[in-house]
Symmetry: C2
Subunit: 144 residues, 2 copies
DNA sequence: TATTGTTATACTCTATAACTATA
DNA sequence: TATAGTTATAGAGTATAACAATA
């Protein structure tokens, strides 16, 4: 058969376009204009994985350090994260969520995901399973 | 059980982060700096669906018309698309690929997708099937 | 010297609002 | 009036290069 190479090329093509269109749609689904999707993603990662340095956060989100610096500065200005000196390494900084961020995440994340959650509800359980598995695979691809 | 609402919220969360990280990774995978990923997506859509108006192209790519105007202007400047008057409707414009775009798509798309194709090859056939199905579902979600 | 983070700068992507031309 | 497209403008997101501080 040896159809794999062709299939893979077609999959790469379709997957690329689907992800681009879907991510555009997600970004446009903004309700509150104070916290952007990028900000929310950083906050979510901090909530899930706990306090970490800007560098670690950048690695998690697959962005370059200067890009994360900008995000952290904005979040600090909004009172959503704190920057503390690292206990032993003077070069490093520890970014952590403030209580305000915890509250915001509970409320805002739900509101922002309302559209997506609703759409997901309209899918079949099988389709949701596909997306659940695809999420893990895409994260694996992104981190590789 | 009634676990669906909770599952859906968690899925919305994970899917959002996975798509954001994956799309960042895709954008960063730029090899040639003359044609951007957005440009390539528009060209791909024109190749697959044939000549169409800027408005139709914007709908396909889930962007607003002014955003597509900018892309089309850039592509025309690079000699990759032509803008012709619509035969019957004087308001409309028809965007079509030039021969140069055909050549570029064959070569450049493959080159740009080399990274992704390689990564996809490392997956199991089952994982690729998941991504293939997920692509279709994400397109459905984006267009809904 | 190597690492961590930041500043400076610039480019891509995308949107909304206002305008023009045609239907 | 309504529609298609464009222009003008702005903001979000991200990168590379250069710099400062610490290890």
């Amino acid at each position: 058969m040896s159809r794999t190479p062709l299939d893979t090329a077609a999959l790469a093509h379709d997957l690329r376009l689907a992800v681009m269109r879907f991510s555009r749609r997600l970004r446009n689904q903004r309700v509150d204009h104070s916290v952007t999707l990028t900000h929310l993603a950083a906050l979510s990662t901090l909530k899930r994985h706990g306090a970490m340095s800007p560098g670690e956060l950048a690695t998690h989100e697959r962005v370059q350090p200067p890009s994360m610096t900008r995000v952290v500065v904005a979040l600090e200005g909004m009172g959503l994260v704190t920057r503390s000196p690292h206990p032993t390494d003077g070069r490093q900084v520890v970014i952590d969520l403030t209580p305000a961020a915890g509250e915001l995440l509970d409320a805002e994340a739900q509101a922002r995901e309302a559209w997506l959650s609703e759409r997901l509800h309209e899918l079949t359980p099988e389709e949701r399973t596909v997306l659940r598995e695809a999420s893990a695979i895409m994260d694996k691809l992104a981190s590789g």
